[in-house]
């Protein structure tokens, strides 16, 4: 059936510049381009274009411009072009609309309504080029207090992981992303001294050498789990939910389950890998407690166990329950968190901005006097180092980045990850495409990103007259809100600018 949808983007080619080299044709995984040999002309099917910009940046003569298609429906504030297109697509297909990456709706971005403090004369700023600036962060349960007994300082032996910088790579499974990306993340985490997270798709053997920098997930699908998987890693994460699609599970279509993925996930080749929304052995907080302890038992209490939930309306109460159930680390993933594939309607309408959820959870845990029992990690829409600094001042110990890391590898947020045709070789298992990420170059890009952000965090620390990230954690006095209502300032626990 020919679709009745307007093409979203226009491909504008400058015929004077085009040399018919056919790079665009080879680069485009969405079949936009083909070559008309008779006329020695490149032709395009604009309706296939997703604006991934692979062609335009690789065109040797800069002959291509991809821009929004300006054909338009009659303007209507209620029936936007997006809502009309979505409805028509569903009328044509009868299915749930899928999408990739995080929520792109103009929800209020609280990071952009928060300003940081800087020292002036009474408290000197510190020059990070001359003075030590400490970013090291330790995740795991902390003792409530230390004791001296018989002249000895008694130190409870809680397991932990150390990060050289409070930035980790969030869960992205092998299967959702290509092997080369997965490897780049593992290598970069190792080089920087932080953690990468295998996600729910198992952990290839040859990458186990990066174990001290690896978090393994135990998700509802239980893919790739065995004792070695847990024991080779530095930390175990139970995934309950993720910000892009709270309350639903995941699905890796059978055609992506290659020999290597089948081996890694421990499932038959070509079979669909379905992770259900609930863990079928967790229907209560007590059940979660049992899994937390089962994993601790399996790893001889040597690995911290984290529990990841998406930011939902009663996240503070849930987080409190999770801490009491023995979680050493709580991860909260906000509404802007990315994903390989999610029903669009969920991605855009379910969950909470991470800023509010994080502040509410930190406050709740402190009110209950149990903030020391677990570290707090937040994720979902972290875009730059100031977002990280603000997150820590609101109460996080560290953050996960996902989309931002993929961008370092080339992603342009075209939101077509669920098609498996990622032209940048990131969210695809097509060997032709996935070669586009060179793991060595990818590693370097990720290392560069973390280095750059860490330097910036040091600058922000220095300007606040602080030389250790620990003194920023939960230090909401370093923040002021602007353009926020009283209730928002109240949830964030910060003062308004000028107060």
């Amino acid at each position: 059936m020919r679709t009745a949808l307007l093409p979203e983007f226009s491909v504008v080619r400058d015929e004077n510049r085009c040399i018919q080299c056919r790079v665009c044709e080879r680069q485009c995984s969405f079949d936009v381009y083909s070559y008309d040999a008779g006329n020695n002309l490149m032709v395009h099917r604009e309706e296939n274009c997703v604006a991934c910009q692979r062609c335009s940046v690789l065109c040797p003569t800069n002959a291509l411009v991809i821009k929004m298609n300006d054909y338009t429906y009659r303007p209507n504030a209620n029936w936007t072009r997006e809502s009309i297109s979505d409805l028509k697509k569903q009328a044509e297909t009868g299915g749930v609309l899928l999408t990739g990456m995080g929520c792109d709706k103009p929800l209020k971005n609280y990071w952009d309504h928060i300003l940081l403090n800087a020292s002036q004369v009474t408290n000197p700023s510190i020059d990070p080029l001359r003075e030590p600036m400490e970013l090291r962060t330790r995740l795991g349960r902390k003792a409530d207090h230390l004791e001296i007994r018989n002249g000895n300082l008694e130190v409870p032996d809680y397991p932990y992981v150390d990060l050289s910088t409070p930035i980790m790579f969030g869960a992205m499974s092998y299967g959702a992303i290509s092997y080369n990306c997965f490897k780049s993340l593992a290598q970069a985490a190792h080089e920087v001294g932080t953690m990468f997270n295998t996600g729910e798709g198992g952990w290839p053997r040859e990458l186990r050498k990066f174990g001290t920098n690896t978090i393994v997930q135990c998700a509802s699908g239980r893919f790739g789990l065995d004792l070695e998987y847990f024991n080779d890693a530095a930390m175990v994460e139970i995934k309950i939910g993720q910000g892009a699609k709270p309350g639903i599970g995941g699905h890796l279509p059978g055609e992506k389950v290659s020999a290597h993925i089948s081996q890694t996930r421990m499932i038959p080749m070509g079979s669909d890998a379905i992770s259900p929304a609930p863990h079928h052995d967790i229907y209560s907080i007590e059940d979660l407690q049992m899994l937390v302890h089962a994993l601790k038992e399996a790893t001889d209490y040597r690995k911290p166990v984290s529990v990841k939930i998406s930011a939902v309306h009663n996240a503070p109460a849930i987080a409190s329950g999770m801490v009491r159930a023995g979680a050493d680390i709580i991860v909260i993933d906000g509404v802007r968190g990315g994903t390989g594939a999610a029903p669009k309607i969920l991605r855009d309408n379910v969950g909470l901005p991470i800023e509010l959820a994080l502040a509410a959870v930190d406050t709740r845990l402190r009110e209950e006097g149990i903030r020391n029992w677990a570290s707090l990690v937040c994720s979902g829409g972290i875009r730059n180092s100031s977002d990280i600094f603000k997150a820590i001042a609101l109460g996080a110990d560290a953050v996960y980045i996902g989309t931002a890391a993929l961008m370092a590898l080339g992603c342009t947020v075209c939101q077509k990850c669920y098609t498996g045709k990622c032209a940048w070789g990131i969210t695809t298992q097509d060997p032709y495409l996935s070669k586009r990420v060179n793991p060595e170059i990818g590693t370097q890009a990720l290392v560069n990103l973390l280095r750059a952000w860490s330097l910036e965090i040091k600058e922000m620390l220095g300007c606040a007259g602080i030389n250790s990230i620990e003194s920023v954690r939960g230090n909401r006095l370093q923040l002021r809100g602007i353009g926020l209502e009283d209730w928002e300032l109240g949830v964030l626990g910060i003062r308004g600018a000028g107060q």
Binding site: S119, K142, I148, N152, L153, P156, R366, E470, S471, R473
Partner: protein, 387 residues
């Protein structure tokens, strides 16, 4: 937050930024000495303050009532005094009460009413068995947060804080401090840069017999405060120095840690140094940074912390505020400026600038350890508990 007007912070600022001069002296034999040296020395650093706050803490001043908690309370009005006294009578046995003698001076304008009460907490109102110190602490917080116009600014035994708005010499004159004798004297001349002075916010800041005078600004205040709040401390005096007093109380009194460990918590070595240590030291510092990372004091500070038996002079680990220590016989001095020490004791046995992050600890003779140590931390052997 209630408004105590004269005795409180008129701008309701969370943190009052102050610079200042600090001076402390201790007779390690426990001999009671007059305050003249201390008053002279702090007065010599007049230029470091701006007349918006000064104060003294003196240990050993109430030898006749050594076991009573001496509550020094400021009142804004007679009504606030009556209300507080009703509360005190209900929850404390009061053995003696009086208005603190004052000697009005021209420059001290509009002071609050200042009384002292020698008390013991009554236990009968509580169902739980609690430590007396905890009860006093709790009730002090209660008065400070809920009785309009009343402010407890000193609550230890056989010691007292005297403070207010003025230069140190004026405050000393106002309270007639030359009439008091103590074996530790600490003092403060204040330079708050962005608020009017207010009586409650002058230093020393105290809780029970812990007192702190401070020069600097604590940029980790927000983190320190939120950590202390988890342990029931209510920050009512709205100054960054307050967190130091409460942190010392939490760590030394409640968690039973020696003062050397407390100072290591406030300004531990950086992680890179810790990484290079032997395994015993490394475990020790890892443990304290792990557990008490939120009590690391960041920003520039020089503090003199005192309690019965000890006076500790300490600066931040990159030493952004001045501190000089000196010894003459059995007297130990700590000061923002050497000139202040030299003025009252020209011939010193030893004078030196302590290393940043290394506390100078003066102790009463006869107590464990040497009477003066610098950074003389004996690292307790760490043992790892199975959990």
């Amino acid at each position: 937050m209630k408004n105590l007007s004269r005795v409180n912070n008129p701008y309701n600022d969370d943190k009052v930024i102050s610079q200042c001069s600090i001076f402390g002296m201790m007779n390690t034999s426990g001999k009671l000495i007059s305050g003249m040296q201390c008053i002279t020395a702090i007065t010599n650093m007049h230029e470091r303050g701006n007349g918006l706050g000064a104060g003294f803490a003196i240990y050993g001043i109430y030898p006749d009532r050594p076991d009573d908690y001496a509550l020094h309370i400021m009142f804004d009005t007679k009504i606030s005094r009556e209300e507080t006294e009703t509360y005190l009578k209900r929850l404390f046995d009061i053995s003696f009460a009086e208005e603190v003698p004052i000697f009005p001076t021209e420059s001290i304008i509009n002071p609050p009413y200042i009384y002292r009460y020698f008390v013991h907490p009554k236990l009968k109102d509580t169902h739980e068995i609690v430590d007396e110190d905890d009860l006093v602490t709790r009730r002090v917080f209660k008065i400070n947060t809920s009785i309009e116009g009343a402010f407890v600014f000193s609550s230890g035994k056989n010691m007292g804080v005297f403070k207010g708005v003025g230069f140190p010499e004026e405050i000393a004159q106002f309270f007639g401090l030359e009439h008091y004798r103590g074996y530790i004297w600490t003092s403060h001349g204040r330079f708050p840069t962005n608020t009017q002075g207010w009586w409650g916010g002058a230093h020393p800041l105290s809780l029970l017999d812990w007192t702190v005078v401070h020069n600097g600004e604590i940029s980790s205040y927000g983190a320190n405060r939120r950590f202390l709040e988890m342990y029931g401390y209510v920050c009512t005096m709205q100054t960054d120095t307050e967190v130091v007093a409460y942190a010392v109380d939490l760590l030394e009194r409640k968690h039973g840690l020696p003062i050397e460990v407390v100072m290591d918590i406030f300004s531990p070595p950086v992680w890179e140094q810790i990484d290079r240590m032997n395994s015993g030291d490394r475990k020790y510092f890892e443990a304290i940074r792990n557990t008490y990372g939120s009590l690391l004091l960041n920003g520039p500070f020089a503090i003199i912390v005192a309690h019965h038996g000890e006076m500790i002079a300490h600066t931040d680990r990159i030493r952004l505020r001045p501190m000089v220590a000196g010894i003459k016989g059995d007297t130990v001095y700590a000061s923002s400026e050497e000139s202040a020490i030299r003025l009252v004791c020209p011939e010193l046995d030893k004078v030196w600038i302590p290393t940043g992050g290394h506390p100078v600890i003066a102790r009463l003779k006869g107590t464990e350890g040497h009477d003066v140590v610098e950074g003389g931390r004996e690292i307790p052997g760490t043992i790892v508990m199975e959990v």
